[in-house]
Symmetry: C2
Subunit: 454 residues, 2 copies
């Protein structure tokens, strides 16, 4: 921890792109930088040696004392092209896979599927492989990883890693100008809200469960009441997903500061009714998250999460200063969270004034109107519930449906829109490029958030 880079400098001589001043090692001197400390000017040293020794020592030499070598990756150039680098002297092939790369359609048993095509890094001197995007990247939040001789690897030069259930990926953000998406995803010099990780009691599910709650700047020191936006993750997520991958706190701080969104409380639930919380925060011992087979999670057919939703509401309305009416309550979600939002909003018709279905798992194939399998009252009588939702007394102010053109749920979503059209229920539709991806969900969140509570 402390003195880390110093130790490594003293011990190994690291590569450096610039001259550095090095203090001779003495724990007793270290808290103080003295102008009398002799400077040692270092030039480029031996990368191979230091990298190998660093790697061999691992990160447990007096606990992660060093920050790795000085390879920069990703390097975002002033023109917003990006260079990726990996030191891999023994590799035969190094690729980068990322959501900024061109997509191609591949054949799957389920038809055409859009995937990004990994790009090849070229080996340069000293075993450092490199790839630079041919074009500047648009302002956004991007994910990537390396593929070395066929094996996925993270870019360990980049400490920014997100987790999507069991999958880790690196990420970076491109900002081009104030107000663009990259800027919205960044921390700016604006008033900041608070994020809480808290626990509520769910008698319906028989467990304590974890929530992420954003409160806007000024919440703590005012006595004001606020509208509440319930924001639900997809099947691969948990109560961390919108906070980490969705950059919700940054987006809201920025939108609220510029007057584009109303100050609001955002409640990010865990929609997996069989678990208490995100991996690492789960009761009952420390274990790896399991991918639930088939996309159908325990409790789903019984609509366990939807039926437990009043437990969330009870906690939030007791513990936060909320305005408790339809005009000041919104619900939206992505994928499975869209499915949950669709059913919660109609089953508890009239409670949510703003409803957002992002890349929705909506059935839209004409089965609507029949009872769904599972037997839950939440899924029964779809037609009747929808008619009730759109009755004048319950009708939402906004029913927002959004999906990507190559989303594998697009066809089902089209069917859902036909259903809405046939019934004459009003909605706002947003179609974007791309598929079932976070880039779209962040975009929909940004748009939806600016349309609610107004």
């Amino acid at each position: 921890m402390f003195f880390g880079s110093l130790l490594i400098k003293a011990l190994l001589s690291d590569v450096t792109e610039r001259e550095q001043s090095i203090v001779p090692f003495s724990p007793l001197l270290l808290p103080f930088y003295s102008p009398f400390t002799p400077k040692i000017i270092m030039k480029k040293a031996i990368l191979t040696l230091s990298a190998v020794i660093l790697a061999t020592l691992g990160t447990q030499a007096q606990q992660a004392l060093f920050g790795g070598s000085s390879i920069v990756s990703p390097e975002i150039h002033p023109d917003n092209t990006v260079t990726f680098r990996l030191y891999a002297p023994k590799a035969v092939s190094v690729k980068v896979s990322g959501d900024f790369l061109p997509e191609q359609l591949i054949d799957t048993p389920q038809g055409k599927w859009a995937v990004s095509v990994p790009a090849d890094l070229k080996e340069g001197k000293d075993g450092v492989w490199e790839y630079t995007t041919p074009e500047p990247l648009e302002a956004n939040y991007y994910c990537y990883n390396f593929v070395v001789d066929g094996q996925k690897q993270l870019d360990l030069q980049n400490v920014f890693v997100n987790r999507d259930v069991k999958t880790l990926t690196n990420y970076f953000i491109i900002t081009r100008e104030a107000g663009d998406q990259g800027d919205l995803f960044s921390v700016n010099d604006v008033p900041h809200g608070t994020v809480r990780k808290c626990w509520y009691d769910s008698p319906s599910l028989g467990m304590k469960r974890r929530l992420t709650v954003y409160t806007p700047a000024g919440y703590e020191t005012s006595s004001k009441k606020y509208p509440v936006f319930y924001l639900l993750h997809g099947s691969g997520g948990d109560e961390e997903a919108w906070y980490t991958q969705g950059r919700v706190t940054q987006v809201l701080d920025n939108l609220i500061a510029t007057g584009k969104a109303e100050p609001m409380i955002v409640v990010m639930t865990n929609g997996n009714a069989y678990e208490t919380s995100a991996p690492g925060e789960q009761a009952g011992g420390f274990r790896q998250p399991e991918m639930v087979m088939g996309g159908v999670k325990p409790g789903m057919k019984e609509a366990a999460f939807e039926l437990s939703f009043p437990d969330v509401r009870r906690y939030v309305e007791k513990n936060f200063r909320t305005i408790n009416d339809k005009r000041h309550r919104a619900i939206a979600g992505l994928s499975m969270g869209s499915f949950h939002s669709e059913h919660i909003s109609k089953y508890y018709a009239g409670e949510y004034g703003y409803i957002g279905l992002f890349s929705g798992a909506s059935a839209g194939d004409g089965r609507r109107g029949k009872d769904e399998p599972g037997g839950s009252p939440v899924y029964a009588n779809f037609d009747k519930q929808m008619a009730n939702l759109f009755a004048p007394k319950n009708r939402p102010y906004l029913y927002y449906v959004a999906i990507g053109k190559t989303d594998f749920l697009k066809q089902g979503n089209d069917g859902f829109l036909r259903y809405m059209d046939e019934k004459g229920y009003p909605y706002t539709y947003r179609e974007t490029e791309g598929g079932h991806i976070w880039r779209n969900w962040r975009t929909y969140f940004i748009e939806f958030t600016q349309k609610i509570f107004k």
Copy 2:
């Protein structure tokens, strides 16, 4: 996200240790698990193929839709031996480096240094390398990474990764019985506190800065006031360090629930006076953290953090229900945070009733009593300040000093203890095995927390 593992099952056939029921792919059917859905029984399939294709597709195929292959790593066996596995068919050498491995002393320009010795994995069939610890591991939180042909890699089968400035490592927790350290680091079925990420204004440093604050279970719904413990990180850390690597929320939930610690508010600051917050949460754009050379950070010689500490106190005492006296205020830190705690507690003598110096950066070489370089009033007149701190009106109830036997700061710490002895200042001393490592800091935190506010 949604339907992730299903897609992979349908697309690639993955390896599975057990039989799994697979739903035929249809987005429209997916939200419902039907008893009529045919089951496909899968046996072990082709690992190599799936792993390679998975890796090549990367994680951007409709955004991280799959959870990786079914290699289990680390596998914690019932007897608490642990097996590590890595699929690396082209590798010549695979090692694991971890803080559970035996240490050896290596020569450095600064004398003997204890480092753990990486262990060799052996290649088995199908390109899967494996290592099992020869002995069961004690209950604890452990860190590790792989070293493949000399290059550090994370274990991507294990989603648990922590960040220490620029260094990422995997971690896992071993629990043997209730109340042991592994159990304290785990989420148990006890009342849970809330963790807040919030921002305070620091006029002294001219910036808004981020804090992590733990409030105990029941805080939100009571009107009770609580004691406050200020907990400071080391030079390699930030306001996330104690929360992530220190497992502070889990430890406190567990200690408070069993009556071993008093309900308290814990405030985890960012001690790097030149920055607002942790990487990824920093104002002024998205950038990689820099390792500050020499262990001496900007503002350190001016004691900028110590002098700005009243800004933290002002925010906390205004925004939380705190008891504002010496009896109900503690401060402790690790390494640089120990140095900060030492100086804050004597410069603001009489304000902190409980002071903890963990692996302290204390100077104890006899320079005490002279003015330190830097010129800050915080560091001047050490003897006088210490005498004032231990004057009857200011004297702390607990002055806790702890360090590991092989910590490279041990000699300086010994000198500091001699100084305390010469002056007759009372303190509690704790010496553990091991060096300048988080395992020790978690132990000291657990001990210290049980001694305060009583």
